[in-house]
């Protein structure tokens, strides 16, 4: 995974709450077996409306998505994260994220920036007033900055370190292979197997 320390870009305000993963990437896109190329499917039904915010020329090239509360609710499809990153987003700002979406984002190089409602609102207003406003998402400082606005966002130390180092989760876990094996020795034998153990 690529290391992430800070990102500077322009933002686009999506004034909707409860944006579910079926809207982010509709299910007909889920039939693909690849990990790339999902950007074309991002919000594909909403994008048919020329007035939809992602279709507006002034927000073209924005890399930070600002959304209403409860973003990414619904299914576990990581395709939603792949669609956002493939489209060019590096961060999403919301008052609240669905749990699975949040954890998928943190695996896929998309930073979920959780701010207070008033901060999201203020940021949307700033961006709507000036669409060229430069927004900085600073992972090292756990801070979002735009104009006069400085907002702190929560992220645990471990995840922050992992993202900043660009470390592979599986590789990290495999460092503890010994612990996994000894746990397996202790597991009760009566627990079900889907087939007889080899």
């Amino acid at each position: 995974m690529d290391a992430f320390t800070a990102h500077v870009g322009r933002a686009v305000p999506l004034r909707r709450s409860d944006v579910d993963t079926d809207q982010i990437i509709p299910s007909d896109w889920l039939k693909r077996v690849e990990r790339t190329g999902f950007g074309a499917g991002l919000f594909s039904e909403w994008r048919e409306d020329p007035a939809f915010v992602l279709n507006q020329e002034r927000y073209a090239g924005a890399s930070i998505l600002l959304a209403g509360q409860n973003f990414g609710t619904g299914s576990s499809r990581e395709h939603a994260v792949w669609a956002l990153t493939d489209f060019g987003f590096r961060a999403v700002v919301s008052e609240r994220f669905a749990d699975i979406f949040r954890s998928n984002s943190l695996k896929g190089g998309l930073l979920p920036v959780q701010l207070a409602r008033g901060e999201v609102e203020a940021l949307m207003a700033l961006v709507e007033a000036d669409h060229s406003l430069e927004v900085t998402v600073d992972l090292a400082a756990r801070e979002l900055r735009a104009g006069d606005l400085v907002a702190h966002f929560p992220l645990d130390d471990f995840t922050r370190w992992r993202l900043m180092e660009g470390l592979d989760d599986i590789g990290l876990t495999l460092l503890h292979e010994q612990d996994i094996s000894s746990y397996e020795q202790r597991r009760p034998a009566r627990l079900p197997a889907t087939r007889p153990a080899a």
């Binding site: 994260v81 876990t173 627990l191």
Partner: protein, 466 residues
């Protein structure tokens, strides 16, 4: 201090604990389907890794399968299913393919085969994995990167979740089902109300639910944002499990029951959050909007967004009414549907089919209504046929199908056309969920059956005697 059920299961699965790091948690069962796994298997191959415990992994085909034929004609769907078959072969994973008697929706087959047991940790690249929590297992959905992680290591690094209790006091009235209960709960707490929490459902009304009713409730935990839903195992759980293909037998059975008996929240345990609901006031419940929290009693009317106090709720309601083609104030009972879908991992089990068949028996589906019954698994289908339910449905004018996700989501040939309206026993009424432009009302199996008969949203009690 005592511990909650969720904490007990969590503690028993911690492989490694270190200050400032997530716990490394062991996974007892990993369920796999065709949609969220191909990129995970690719990742394994790219890194030269293998599947650590194929014997704790079980795969099925469900999302893409057509339910009226045993061949897939859509080339992209076919490729996805064939990719799963090839991956399972390569990594030696047990797979139930279309046509196999044990094939079905991933969350229906686990419990049915008895591989879902109390106290286990269960994951799947699917948000409705919460279903398995009905057995007192800690079960939750994961993304594809985590699927790859579990395949490679049989563990996940996880931050310990917060706990919440939902206590449902009192008893459900006759004719009110677990689906009504959970829809009413979500309308009360909102779609994000459970975020970050593992929820334990408790109280008299929950204890009185059958295993299948409990699965319906736990299934929809994710629809109000909970990470997982759990119910403490009891006699109902044991009675369901005993004798199943993978359930412990003989001396193992008694040992297992002894262990399971300890899976109760201690009296002095403290939950981070508590919610209370009075079961006795719940009536048949349906949704009017485009998220599962936008629901009302069937006896009520489409709500007026203007009367909503919270701005974001008002905006969402206005948008939803436009999408749904509804006007505030219309009685829910007057809403006419084109399609009735009975199935999915929420309500595609025996009890659901039996409840619907009882309503349908001796009646006819209304003219112009397309009605589908899609059993959650092939074993459900066979059992229903043994009980003669298929002929009850067929005689009434329902389509009787093979097992799959079917019209729960638009990934297979069963879809709504733009503007079509359905009463559906599934779990999501998002825009386009059942097909582009399709409009979904979430309902219980009994309401679905009665609605098929009249052609508009109806509870069985509204029907005339036959």
């Amino acid at each position: 201090m005592g511990r909650t059920l969720a904490e007990k299961v969590w503690d028993a699965h911690v492989v490694r604990k270190a200050e400032g790091e997530p716990d490394l948690v062991y996974i007892d069962l990993h369920l796999v389907h065709e949609v969220t796994s191909p990129q995970a298997f690719d990742g394994l191959r790219l890194a030269g890794r293998t599947v650590r415990r194929p014997d704790l992994t079980l795969a099925t085909e469900d999302h893409n399968v057509p339910t009226d034929a045993l061949t897939i004609t859509d080339p992209i769907s076919l490729k996805q299913v064939e990719t799963l078959r090839a991956n399972c072969q390569e990594f030696d994973i047990r797979l139930h393919s279309m046509g196999d008697a044990r094939q079905g929706i991933v969350h229906v087959i686990g419990p049915q085969l008895g591989v879902t047991q109390p106290g286990m940790t269960i994951v799947c690249g699917d948000s409705h994995t919460s279903t398995h929590g009905a057995f007192g297992a800690l079960a939750f959905g994961i993304g594809t990167s985590e699927v790859e992680h579990v395949l490679a290591t049989q563990t996940l690094p996880l931050v310990r979740p917060k706990t919440m209790a939902v206590t449902v006091e009192g008893r459900l009235q006759p004719g009110v089902t677990s689906k009504d209960l959970v829809l009413a709960l979500i309308a009360q707490v909102g779609t994000g109300g459970g975020q970050g929490h593992v929820v334990e459902y408790r109280g008299e009304a929950v204890r009185e639910l059958s295993m299948e009713g409990r699965m319906t409730v736990c299934n929809m935990s994710i629809e109000w944002g909970a990470r997982a839903g759990m119910i403490a195992p009891d006699e109902t759980t044991y009675a369901y499990l005993e004798g199943r293909e993978h359930a412990p037998a003989g001396a193992d059975w008694s040992a297992a029951v002894t262990d399971w008996e300890a899976l109760r929240t201690d009296d002095d345990a403290v939950f981070d959050e508590e919610v209370f609901l009075d079961a006795s006031v719940v009536t048949p419940f349906v949704t009017w909007g485009t998220n599962p929290g936008q629901g009302v009693a069937l006896a009520a009317a489409v709500p007026d967004p203007a009367a909503m106090l919270v701005g974001s709720e008002r905006d969402a309601a206005e948008r939803a009414l436009i999408y749904m083609g509804l006007t505030a104030g219309t009685p829910m009972r007057e809403i006419a549907v084109d399609t009735v879908f009975l199935g999915s991992c929420t309500n595609g089990r025996m009890e659901d089919l039996r409840a619907a068949a009882e309503v349908v028996k001796g009646r006819r589906v209304a003219d112009g209504v397309r009605a589908l019954v899609v059993p959650g698994s092939m074993l459900v289908k066979l059992q229903a046929e043994k009980e003669g339910l298929d002929s009850i449905f067929r005689d009434a004018g329902f389509d009787w199908r093979n097992a799959g996700c079917s019209m729960c989501l638009a990934m297979n040939p069963d879809t709504l056309a733009p503007g079509e309206r359905s009463a559906s026993t599934s779990n999501r009424n998002f825009e386009g969920r059942q097909g582009r432009g399709g409009r979904t009302h979430l309902v219980s199996p009994a309401v679905a059956a009665a609605t098929a008969i009249t052609g508009h949203l109806t509870a069985p009690a509204d029907l005339q005697e036959v």
